[in-house]
Amino acid sequence: MMGLFARPRRIGVGVGISALAVLLAMPAMAQDETYRVYVANEFGADITVIDSATEEVVNSIKISDRPGEVRPRGMAVSPDGRTIYVSVSDFYPQRQTPEDKIMAIDVESNEVTGEFNAGGNPERIAVSPDGTQIWASLEAIASGAGYDVATGKQFAEHRVGIEAEGVAVSPDYKWAYVTAEATHTVSIIDIAANKVVKHLIVGNRPRVVEFSLDGTRAYVSAEIGGTISVIDTEAQAVIQTIDLGLDSRPVELAVAPDGKRIYVAGGGTSAVYVIDTETNQIVETIREQMGRRPWGIAITPDGKRVFTANGLSDSVSVIDTETLKVINNISVGRGAHSVEIGVVPNNE
């Protein structure tokens, strides 16, 4: 599949560096960096940018001139934090259209630097640990697909469950996991072998999947089930199901940088559930001052702040991870869907 680039500059410029270089750079970056919070506004067809330090909106990036027809949804960040990727589609999940694409935003300039076609109504995306590849869930065609960041070419496409939704790649980049709402499944793709090796039934209407930092566990939110399924990635089996309550309606989840906690956005209860990954128990439920129907959630690389995208109140709630309290609510665009954190080095 040919990439359809809006600009001469390719989407992968500045991103396709080696995984080793990224890993070596990460500790130093944490010393002197600031963060920008990107919020995909599904109905506004734009991305709100918030400075995490001042907690003020600093930019709004237009994704389309046709809000209500074209929508940004899932996002992912490159390993170095410098590029935000956005999955864009129309509102017809059962068909492929020219609107189906993945766009790249440069965090420093807040400019869209490239895009490529990703036919099949891409809903969510994940970036490989070395930043050179993107995996997308393609809702319309029940598939998980891999794309080369530098060229935009699709290098893999696999049939998964119906209404593909969430996608994640393992830290060792051996596996891509894709959830599917209608079949209540997670499909496990062996990336090197280029095939689906297993389907697992998880909770009802699975949404988002995330790996633990060491890759030994994968966590899957189930919106109707009100659960988080814990998958042992070596055994490729669900080993535990964490009950959040049937009314919780969990969607996105974020693993803390130290791996000790998971933060889950509970859209049904307008709450954030904090789970201890050692015990898989809920240690706190944050409700007070939360915006309404949080779907998106992300944590800063320093682990100090959690941001939620609240679809019914068109806002972002800011949570202090030390006190586990909401410390601010920030107005964003219409239909806040997902949130992601970009990194801006201060010395640049």
């Binding site: 209500g68 027809e69 509102f91 017809y92 999940p93 059962q94 469950g161 119906i162 209608a182 079949t183 209540h184 499944t185 297993k198 389907h199 697992l200 039934i201 998880v202 909770g203 009802n204 189930a222 109707i224 089930g225 009100g226 659960t227 399924s229 055994a235 490729q236 089996a237 669900v238 080993i239 199901t241 009950d243 309550g245 049937l246 009314d247 309606r249 049904g268 129907r293």
Partner: protein
């Protein structure tokens, strides 16, 4: 590939490592406790909605709308007609005749006054509701919750009516969703008293959102370009609120193996009834079909496609699905199927199809981890 190897192949794909668990939170499970009654109520409600549409518009009806109204004599009626016939044959006959009259008016083949015919059918339908669904059950909040969730999310309901109108550019699906929403609002009024202030406000907000999508019965002049899923989000959220307000688990597929096992048991019980009363047995099959098609067919097709296909085909030997109304004036009477069987060796009898379906469900239960 034989059935055993199908199951083994499915197991090899890892379907049963440890399936999604469901946690009890609400005190009632109407889709398990009153499976057939909820299907019967759905049939009664669907006929009521079609009468509402017949009243909201005037003949001559648009062809698409006329076809919808004619459905009052179809599968919706078959969901409860066997029980009604058993309990009150005179009422069953009168209702069938009244609905036939409405259908003929919709077809343009009757000169009767539409308002009178609709009013008579509505009156008889209400009597039938009372006969088929005992008052103590109909008045239960949890049962009403089950009716509401069907009206919100089932085919032709609030969410689907809007989606089909927009996505498939079928404007006359829109009034179906509008009619379902009016009924949801009426039922919400009956259950909302037990809601907390917060949930009351949430519920009303969702209804208001849906009202903006369905301001009137008339389809919008242009449906293309709208968001087909716009009604789904508030409908789903309202469903969650109704669960809490009615203290009822309204998503029976939270535990897939349990649901498959339940359907296997329901089917087995229906098979025992077939020889005595095929129409009443078919009512159970309608209920089973709803739950299978809505909640289990997709996942079954993923892990055991041959079993899923076989099960889906077996339904065709017993009932006519709502989607097949176009091809048939009414649901296939199970007795008709028995008669057909005499002259057609390829057509399974209802009894035989039922037995095979029960067996298929038992195998699918194992595939899904039950």
């Amino acid at each position: 590939m034989n059935k055993r190897s199908i199951i083994l192949a499915a197991l090899a794909m890892g379907s049963v490592s440890l399936p999604g668990m469901a946690f009890a939170q609400y005190g009632n499970s109407p889709f398990y406790d009153h499976t057939v009654e909820l299907s019967q109520a759905y049939g009664l409600e669907v006929i009521g909605l079609r009468l509402d549409l017949a009243a909201a518009f005037s003949p001559p009806y648009d062809d698409e709308l006329a076809e919808t109204i004619e459905g009052v004599t179809g599968a919706a009626l078959a969901r409860f007609s066997g029980t009604l016939e058993d309990r009150d044959p005179e009422l069953a006959t009168a209702l069938a005749a009244a609905l036939d009259e409405v259908a003929e008016i919709a077809e343009g083949e009757s000169d009767e006054d539409p308002a009178e015919a609709i009013a008579e059918a509505r009156e008889l339908l209400e009597q039938a509701y009372a006969v088929v669904i005992p008052a103590e059950l109909r008045d239960q909040a949890a049962f009403k919750g089950g009716v509401i969730i069907n009206l919100l999310l089932a085919e032709g309901g609030v969410a689907e009516g809007y989606e089909e109108a927009v996505e498939n550019n079928e404007p006359w699906e829109y009034p179906n969703g509008w009619a379902a929403l009016q009924r949801v609002k009426a039922l919400w009024e009956e259950v909302k008293d037990s809601a907390s202030a917060e949930r009351l406000a949430d519920g009303q907000e969702m209804l208001d959102l849906l009202d903006t999508l369905y301001p009137e019965a008339q389809p919008p002049a242009v449906v293309a370009g709208l968001n087909p899923e716009e009604a789904e989000s508030p409908a789903q959220r309202l469903g969650g609120i109704v669960e809490e307000v009615t203290d009822a688990d309204l998503y029976p597929d939270r535990d897939l193996p349990k649901l498959m096992g339940h359907l296997a048991e329901m089917t087995t019980a229906a098979c025992a009834v077939y020889p005595q009363n095929a129409d009443i047995a078919a009512e159970s099959i309608y209920a089973v079909y709803d739950l299978f098609a809505t909640h289990l067919a997709d996942v079954s097709g993923m892990f055991a496609p041959e079993l899923q296909e076989n099960a889906s085909e077996l339904f065709g030997s017993m009932i006519v699905a709502e989607d097949d109304d176009d091809d048939d004036d009414g649901a296939a009477s199970a007795e008709d199927e028995e008669e057909d069987d005499d002259g057609d060796d390829d057509q399974l009898s209802g009894t035989d199809a039922c037995g095979e379906l029960a067996e298929a469900f038992t195998e699918l239960r194992a595939v899904l981890g039950g």
